[in-house]
């Protein structure tokens, strides 16, 4: 688990970006609007819209492969629409490595 302090507060727009890649849960009627993000096999994120602090948990089994994933999210978010497809490409590459780890000798190759 890591706690990050970002340069600027998190926005709802960032959550819309996150929804392209995983499941976002948003509780906007709390004292502070809370969100969580879950991406299976990759990471989970907790935080509040309007806050600069986020808590990121990496999936233990693939920690070395997804250690930079949160940074990739931030980087590609800044690139707008173009960033969505670019990050999806990066994800495919990470997934292939995960698959090799789970099944190093697949019958039909990858």
């Amino acid at each position: 688990m890591k706690e990050y302090i970002l340069d600027k507060p998190l926005t709802e727009d960032f959550l819309k970006f996150l929804e392209q890649f995983g499941t976002v849960r948003f509780l906007d009627q709390l004292k502070k609007p809370y969100f969580s993000y879950e991406k299976e096999h990759f990471i989970s994120i907790k935080g509040f819209v309007g806050d600069s602090n986020v808590e990121v948990r990496y999936k233990k089994e693939s920690h070395d492969l997804v250690g930079d994933y949160f940074h990739l999210l931030l980087y590609y978010y800044d690139q707008g629409e173009r960033g969505i497809s670019a990050l999806k490409g990066q994800e495919d590459s990470i997934r292939k490595k995960m698959k090799i780890r789970v099944d190093p000798m697949p019958e039909n190759g990858i």
Partner: protein
């Protein structure tokens, strides 16, 4: 003297006292500072004088507090986990073969893990007694006993359900049947009066950083028959240094190396604070506030309470539709209410009460105020109401 409170804003509502009490009494912090200002009085190890002999003073204080002696039978360890490891491994090393041990579903990993490790190593066989109505009965212990049973280890108070265990009849039965009984008093010492002159335990384990108001890193145990436990740690004791084997005199039998003087000083001052405040007064206030807190949450939409009549100031609950870790995070970061979430190192209790998913635990101390409890309960209700109705996609 008031406790030393936080100096930074915002005001934290600290409800994680079953893990570590906070704030600490002013007297405790002063005693630690005093201890560190003086050269350490190391009995047998120094020619200095004029400093306070905190280990001896603390042992005397413990013997008075728990109504059992002699003071040398109180051993200092890092915490309750350390004490339990020392006792369990020492007893099994000394014990015969086959060795059967019993523990309970209410117990903490500080008990379960050493026992299960020994079981996996083939050193012991193990039975786990179930709880009924949040308590372990003598009947449940009796059912688990077999001819090879040499040890029973059980908690005095559940750290999840806040239920006090009636250890006296169990201790009497085990004593008559020559079965060693280790009681884990981590959750009870300081909260309720413990009279070891009236309960024939083999060993009673305590920790300093919870209701005895010491600092983290100090705990210990009382042992009635030290010879029952093999020496598993050896080192310098400041005595019998010509001997190359570890002395068996108490308390050196179980203590070696430089002690945790600031921790021992904090324990000494913490027990004095509890005694001067009055255990009855502490118990009454904790009980009243805990009841009030439960009333504020009970039957409210979206809240499930697992222990609505605890003996100790511990309330375990979940907020429907929201993971306990998330709820704890929201309470801490949005409302400054500090709780403990997850399994509380007591996985077998959680298997029974919430299917093993864990819960949120709010635990109070002498320093918790009614205003804090009111505010915390309102925050929990607000999260529950929001979680129930306001989940939406962005």
């Amino acid at each position: 003297m008031p406790p030393v409170l936080q100096s930074e804003q915002p005001h934290l509502i600290y409800l994680n006292n079953a893990a570590t009490t906070w704030p600490k009494p002013h007297e405790v912090l002063e005693e630690v500072a005093k201890c560190l200002r003086q050269p350490l009085h190391e009995q047998g190890r120094t020619t200095g004088n004029g400093s306070m002999d905190f280990p001896s003073a603390a042992r005397e204080t413990l013997a008075t507090f728990f109504h059992a002696g002699p003071p040398e039978h109180y051993i200092f360890t890092q915490n309750a986990t350390d004490a339990l490891n020392l006792l369990i491994h020492g007893l099994v090393k000394k014990g015969g073969v086959p060795f059967h041990a019993i523990t309970t579903e209410l117990d903490h990993n500080s008990v379960l893990r050493p026992l299960i490790t020994l079981e996996q190593e083939g050193a012991i066989s193990l039975s786990v007694a179930p709880f009924t109505d949040n308590t372990i009965s003598l009947t449940a212990i009796k059912k688990a006993i077999c001819p090879e049973t040499s040890l029973v280890v059980m908690t005095h108070g559940s750290n999840v359900l806040g239920s006090l265990q009636d250890i006296k009849p169990i201790a009497e039965y085990l004593n008559v049947n020559d079965i060693f009984f280790i009681v884990d008093g981590a959750q009870t010492a300081g909260h309720i009066p413990v009279d070891l002159s009236d309960i024939p335990v083999g060993a009673f384990v305590f920790t300093g950083h919870k209701a005895l108001f010491g600092i983290p890193g100090i705990g210990g145990f009382f042992i009635s028959e030290p010879d029952a436990i093999a020496i598993t740690r050896q080192g310098g004791t400041g005595t019998d240094s010509r001997m190359l084997t570890h002395p068996s005199d108490m308390p050196m039998r179980f203590e070696s190396g430089t002690p945790n003087y600031p921790g021992i000083a904090s324990l000494y001052a913490g027990i004095r604070f509890v005694t001067s405040t009055g255990q009855d007064a502490i118990g009454k206030k904790n009980n009243d506030l805990t009841r009030f807190f439960i009333r504020e949450l009970k039957n409210k939409p979206g809240i499930t309470i697992y222990n609505d009549a605890p003996d100790l100031p511990v309330v375990s609950f979940n907020i429907n539709g929201i993971d306990n870790h998330e709820a704890g995070y929201i309470l801490a970061r949005a409302y400054n209410v500090i709780t403990r979430t997850g399994l509380h190192c007591a996985p077998l209790v959680h298997e029974r009460i919430d299917g093993g998913k864990g819960c949120i635990r709010a635990s109070l101390s002498w320093f918790t105020t009614r205003d804090e409890v009111t505010t915390a309960a309102a925050a929990i209700r607000e999260v529950a109401e929001s979680a129930d109705t306001q989940v939406r996609s962005v």
